[in-house]
């Protein structure tokens, strides 16, 4: 019966639960779903990570290639995050060129990476104006069940922390490159920005880490990105207005979560490196 009721009157179904201060999956309003991080599972990539938040699954893989730096930024390499929302992750997407949602989220992730300065692009330069690394970080959503940005950020950061680049001997006069793959060095990741998504239901209830149905039914979504003690980015695309108090409360929760997530990521990366 419950299934039928849920699909016929989804809003009422959720409201009934919320009036008893509990969510349909048994969590309280401010509870987060369990997070699983698995690092370096894809051997063909230079670094990779699979992240599950509840049922939301995101895989990230980094492929490193060599290129010439841009003439206006000769000392910098490239880091190009790209989020794919393929048709296989949810019935709402179609195959073909990236949807608006994918484009918007890609831009958001790229902005977060740039603002948080977690990667120093100058680390990626091998020889000024001649040779630099370009890291293609492809994020692919495998199961879309809400709080996508959170999962993407964890996946991207753990993936970057697992990236190892070979040493390069470059002779600019003769244009000879020699790659020494026995000497792999890890990439320096300076900060760990962590995103936390909240959903506002019926303008008053604030739900942490919403699942996809909650995201679809709610009146507003809010994503807060925290790096250490610093606030990196607050992304609130319209929806229900929030009071300052509520906002500060969310930020506090995000800070707490960021700490535990950072520990989780570091642990996963450390275990892999053992």
């Amino acid at each position: 019966m419950a299934e039928e009721f849920k699909s016929l009157h989804p809003l009422k179904y959720y409201r009934d639960y919320y009036s008893h201060d509990i969510r349909p999956d048994g969590r309280e309003f401010t509870d987060f779903r369990p997070v699983i991080v698995n690092v370096d599972s894809i051997k063909t990539a230079n670094g990779s990570a699979v992240v599950k938040i509840g049922r939301t699954t995101v895989i990230c893989g980094v492929k490193a290639e060599l290129c010439k730096p841009k003439p206006d930024l000769p000392r910098q390499g490239f880091l190009l995050p790209n989020l794919e929302l393929p048709a296989l992750c949810s019935s709402k997407f179609k195959s073909g060129p990236p949807s608006h949602e994918a484009q918007a989220l890609t831009q958001l992730i790229a902005d977060i990476i740039e603002n948080s300065k977690c990667i120093n692009l100058e680390d990626l330069c091998i020889l000024t104006d001649k040779l630099a690394w370009v890291l293609y970080a492809d994020l692919i959503c495998l199961d879309y069940d809400g709080s996508l940005v959170d999962a993407c950020m964890i996946a991207l950061i753990s993936c970057l922390k697992s990236v190892k680049l070979p040493e390069i001997d470059y002779d600019p006069a003769l244009d000879i490159k020699q790659v020494n793959i026995e000497n792999m060095r890890p990439l320096k990741v300076h900060f760990t920005p962590v995103a936390t998504t909240f959903a506002v239901f019926d303008d008053k209830i604030i739900l942490a880490d919403p699942v996809i149905e909650e995201e679809n039914l709610c009146t507003g979504v809010l994503t807060i990105v925290v790096s250490g003690d610093e606030l990196c980015c607050v992304h609130k695309p319209g929806g229900s207005p929030l009071s300052e108090e509520e906002l500060m409360d969310c930020i506090e929760k995000s800070k707490k979560r960021a700490k535990s997530i950072k520990k989780l990521i570091d642990k996963a990366v450390r275990e892999e490196n053992k």
Binding site: S41, I42, K43, T44, A45, S48, R55, T57, I59, G61, V62, K63, A64, E65, L66, C67, K68, P69, K70, F78, L80, P81, N82, E84, P86, A87, L88, C89, S90, S91, S95, P97, P98, Q103, T106, Q107, A110, V134, Y136, D138, I140, L142, D143, Y144, D145, P166, I168, K177, Q178, V179, N180, I181, I212
Partner: protein, 269 residues
């Protein structure tokens, strides 16, 4: 190539660093052809397979498969009405998408489907068409999406096996269990003599690539529903290879059955 305005664009040109390796490694373990065909154990020699259903919560049916180091995820969604169709069609349709993740191969893949991926989609579609009871879903289309997360050979076969399981989980009526296997034939060195050719199921290393045979099989009636081969192989040897592949498909069928049984048992619980 035209600029892709829907993604972030990096430098115009970049090259994989693997091209400039100091020490080229010989990774391929070599066996002569005679050894392979004489080896009666070859049917059991297919790489380890791990198969699991229900990996994607949003999809009607889904499966994850690992063949050796190859990792593939396949999802099936509810049948939809065939888009842009004017007449009523008695038979349903299957649409298949086969895609490599950009980081799944030694060389980075682009986001758009390339020719190989299109060809594989077509082979996959043809193979699955003969396994699904298309007459039971008139005027409807079943969309199958497959994504290769890591490629270490046999990606197409893996996708076909996983798609068969995912279709079963989604409750799409099927005639039979479908399995598939790939044989990659490698050459020991650059001498172009067939005697020097070596065969081995599942060999990585694209440089020594000689040819590929892929077959796909329906088991109840011993029917081969898709076969595709490239390379330059004498007819008699080709028959041997196909026999070997067919046997190895039989052992995969057992794995598929076990996996489906587990799925059903879980469901009842």
């Amino acid at each position: 190539m035209p600029l892709d305005h829907k993604r972030l664009n990096g430098p115009e040109e970049s090259v994989p660093y693997e091209l400039f390796l100091r020490h080229k490694q010989e990774t391929v373990e070599i066996k002569t052809l005679d050894e392979v065909t004489k080896d009666s154990d070859i049917s059991r020699e297919h790489p380890k397979i791990y198969l699991k259903t229900g990996t994607v919560s949003q999809a009607k049916g889904s499966a994850y498969i690992e063949i050796g180091e190859t990792k593939i995820i396949v999802t099936v969604f509810d049948p939809k009405e065939i888009p842009n169709k004017q007449d009523y069609s008695l038979k349903g349709e299957i649409s298949c998408e086969f895609k490599y993740a950009p980081f799944s191969c030694t060389k980075r893949r682009l986001h758009q489907q390339d020719n190989e991926e299109k060809r594989n989609s077509l082979i996959m579609k043809k193979a699955l068409e003969s396994a699904v009871c298309l007459h039971e879903i008139p005027n409807f289309q079943v969309a199958i999406h497959s994504l290769v997360l890591q490629n270490d050979g046999s990606a197409l076969s893996g996708a076909i096996i996983a798609a068969g399981v995912a279709l079963a989980e989604a409750g799409v009526p099927m005639f039979d269990i479908i399995t598939s296997m790939t044989l990659e034939i490698c050459r020991s060195n650059e001498i172009d003599s067939l005697r020097k050719m070596t065969g081995q199921i599942q060999v990585a290393g694209e440089k020594s690539h000689y040819g590929t045979i892929i077959i796909s099989k329906l088991h109840a009636n011993e029917q081969i529903c898709q076969v595709h081969q490239t390379g330059f192989i004498p007819g008699d040897q080709l028959k041997n290879y196909i026999t070997v592949l067919s046997k190895s498909c039989d052992s995969i069928a057992a794995i598929v059955k076990k996996c489906l049984l587990k799925e059903v048992v879980n469901h009842i619980k």
